[in-house]
């Protein structure tokens, strides 16, 4: 695939900063965000931060002390909540084009000299892989945190799945925000953060069932959400997240279509 707009991208980006018709520029590249220097540095710093926090909250007493006191070591709760916030925020920034300019969530592919473009659906796969890539360096720390809190294997895997799914949601929020408001203005910055705060914190007031912080607290203390109506809680949570992802993906798809139309380009599947 031809790399279009690469050489003059930054120049054009500066010139047409607020011109969203040129947004296609950001979606056309194939340069891997996996090796992005800034991103890798942030990742490294986050892992060090979590490592030190884990050392700080490492259980000071023996097993029998906690069992006798009916207490729980807080490693799982702290580390998972913090990882969730860090990765979620990082994905929001990635989606909003704040860390690197090229999006991976949905890429538009240049096809021929007649300037025909198409969605490259592989982008979705790479995007999910990138979210996983951002999560992977935290896994050894998350494993140790779960071990010290005695979280069982299914609990650990569900927690990781929750972090992953919410990360995808944050990335999509970032991309939607980027498509609608751009990435280089205060409004875009504020709106994306408001969304982040809403999903992470304020959703608690809407319903504790959809609040990630509450979900981790529930797991930590071994409580159960039981059933919501007649639906198993995990089906409910998955349904909620899939709905969020679908709504955000639809928004992205249609906004991108509008841009493509404005550029007088056809939107044919390759």
């Amino acid at each position: 695939m031809k790399r279009l707009f690469w050489n003059g991208r930054f120049q054009r980006h500066k010139n047409y900063n607020m011109n969203r018709n040129h947004i296609l520029d950001y979606f056309s590249g194939v340069d891997s965000p996996f090796k992005n220097k800034k991103l890798l540095s942030i990742l490294s710093n986050f892992v060090w931060l979590l490592f030190f926090i884990l050392l700080f909250i490492w259980p000071k007493q023996g097993f029998y002390f906690y069992v006798r006191e009916q207490d729980l070591p807080l490693t799982y709760l702290f580390i998972f909540e913090l990882t969730f916030v860090l990765i979620g925020y990082l994905n929001l920034k990635c989606g909003n084009g704040e860390v690197y300019i090229k999006m991976v969530i949905i890429r538009v592919k240049y096809i021929d000299a007649q300037e025909t473009y198409s969605f490259n659906y592989q982008g979705i796969f790479w995007s999910l892989l990138h979210v996983s890539f951002l999560l992977a360096p935290f896994l050894p720390i998350l494993l140790v945190a779960s071990l010290l809190s005695g979280i069982n294997i299914s609990g650990f895997l569900i927690s990781i799945a929750i972090i992953f799914q919410f990360s995808v949601v944050f990335r999509l929020i970032g991309v939607s925000n980027f498509l609608v408001l751009g990435n280089n203005n205060t409004l875009s910055y504020l709106i994306s953060r408001l969304f982040f705060i809403f999903v992470t914190g304020f959703s608690w007031y809407l319903s504790p069932f959809i609040n990630p912080i509450q979900i981790f607290i529930t797991f930590h203390f071994g409580r159960s959400f039981g059933e919501i109506g007649s639906i198993n809680y995990f089906y409910f949570l998955n349904g909620y997240l899939i709905l969020l992802i679908s709504v955000l993906s639809t928004i992205i798809f249609y906004v991108l279509r509008i841009y493509i139309k404005r550029e007088r380009l056809s939107l044919n599947e390759y």
Binding site: G62, F63, V67, P73, P140, L143, G150, I153, G222
Partner: protein, 647 residues
Amino acid sequence: MSKIKITVNQFSYLLIFLIGITSSTIFAQSSSIDITTIIGFNGVFTLNTWTPVTIIITNDGKQFKGELQVISTSGNEYQKNINESKYRQHIEIAPKSKKVFSKTILISTYAHPLKIKLFNRGTLISSKSINLRPFYTDKQLFLILANHLPNDIIKNPALNLETKITHSRYLPESWYGYDAVRYVYLHPDFLRLLTNRQFQALKKWVNSGGQLIISGSYNQGALVSNRMRHLIKIDFQGVLKKNTLNALTKFVGVRNIKGSTFLLLNHRVNQSEIILKDDDIPLIQRKQFGLGDIIYVSLDLQENPFRKWKDKYKLWEKLTKLFPTPVDLKQFSDKAIISNMLFAAETNYPSGWPVFMYLFSFVLIMTFLIKKINQNKKGRTKAFKLFTGILLIYISSGFLIYTYFIKTNSFSYNTFTRLFLFGNRQFAMVEQLSGFYSLDKSERQFEMNGGLHPIVIIPHERKRSDITFDLNITEDKKNQIIKLDLNKWSHKFYKSKAVIKMPIQADVESTADRLSIKITNPTLYNIKECYLFLNKRFIKIPDISKKKSTRIAFSPKALSTKAAYIPLESKMITKDTHKTNKITQKNTRAKFLSEELFLSIYHQYKTSENQIHFFGWIEEKVLGSKLMGESVNFDEATFLEWTIPTT
């Protein structure tokens, strides 16, 4: 092919029809079942004791197969400590029949009703709620198992006894069902009315320390019955016709027995002690039976003149006084033992240093590789590949270690058994504490074999609202299954009791300058780390091997030069025991042998001067209990306490 169309309306009718059929079936079954309940002994029970509950279920419908639940509630709502004890049993009742079930339950309060529920495949078929208040008494019971003896045999209120004649049907099928009973009078004729399980329960109760009075009977067949021979073996030497019994009237403290002539049975009970004789004919004999005692009176006490005798209550009061003081079970603090058991729990964290090194090395390598990716443009791809590879290795190895630790350490249990031996009675009272520890929310089953045991849950200070102390036991004829419902990072302790045969014997020879004890251990248990406690001093003695005799001798003079044990010295003893324990199983007993236990022994036995107390540890399993369905880390320790007879 024709298509079958079902409209919404048709579907609704079908649904209503199905619901109707289901509910009518349940209703039909519940209406055909009737539950009748008798609390305690003919409607009398005492608080905080194990009480028999007789449940008669009449089934007028088709065959019933389901579960019977007896639920007793304790605690109060104000203190938010309401706990339920659920005793469950799988039952089957033939159509058009009646069946009697006997459960033994612990009733701690009459503030809550007793609930009886019948379930069929999880559906409640019938239930009954019984107000316990009218059945309560605060006196101990004198149970009369006879057909013709009146109720008024005890008059002295100072004895705090309530006499109760009971139908054989309401007698318990477990030995601890007699928990509220102080004495039982058994007429030999009554024995044939008991079911086999009821007889075994009665026998086991006497074995566990119960006090039983048996009178003679004019029906000789009852005296030679198999059941009677299991209790006492009688040597028949004849019968004498009498009008008066001087020895008896003197013994009771009355002038004479007014009434018709009666028969004096010239019976000699094997291995018994004669308490009272009348012209060389034994009148009252006493026999040790396990940890309990049986008194045999060679007269038929439910026949005249004794039945209508004005002063008969004096005789009965005298008879009760012939029993020795019940054996005293020295109660150590459960709290101290539980604390030690918690400390000895097998579940452990992985060692801190390897885990730290695993994480630290990962973070270091990751930082180094990221730097390499960011700096070296030529080797970027290679460094990135290496970074991904290392990441995968750390994640997969970490996950394997995590899985191993979580699977092996998320649940464990241990038991601490105390075995009490009293003199040379050859039976031991066993008290077992079982502790279960869980890092995860879990449901497991723990099986107690070898008959029914009184099982209680030991509540501790509740710091989390999700921790409850509900007891859930499924019982059948031979064993009990405790359903363990544990929350995250929590523990539960259960206590059970049993009586086992323990034919260990001691012969003490004492002279002015030498005290010699010969201990014969014909059992299959090795007794290790033994101590004698005598005149406030602990003396370490050699281990006592199974099927062997050991002689211990020491000079009392030398003993008096040894400093008396004082609580501060307990640390030294514990330290010493820790040293010797290094070679024993998992060093657990060393943990149990804490200062608290030594202190407890000291405080419990310090006043019993000129008595020898023996303490030791048994490594072998004493009571049959196991976790069902899985192999989990566990540890067992048995502590033997024995008061050795000095005469």
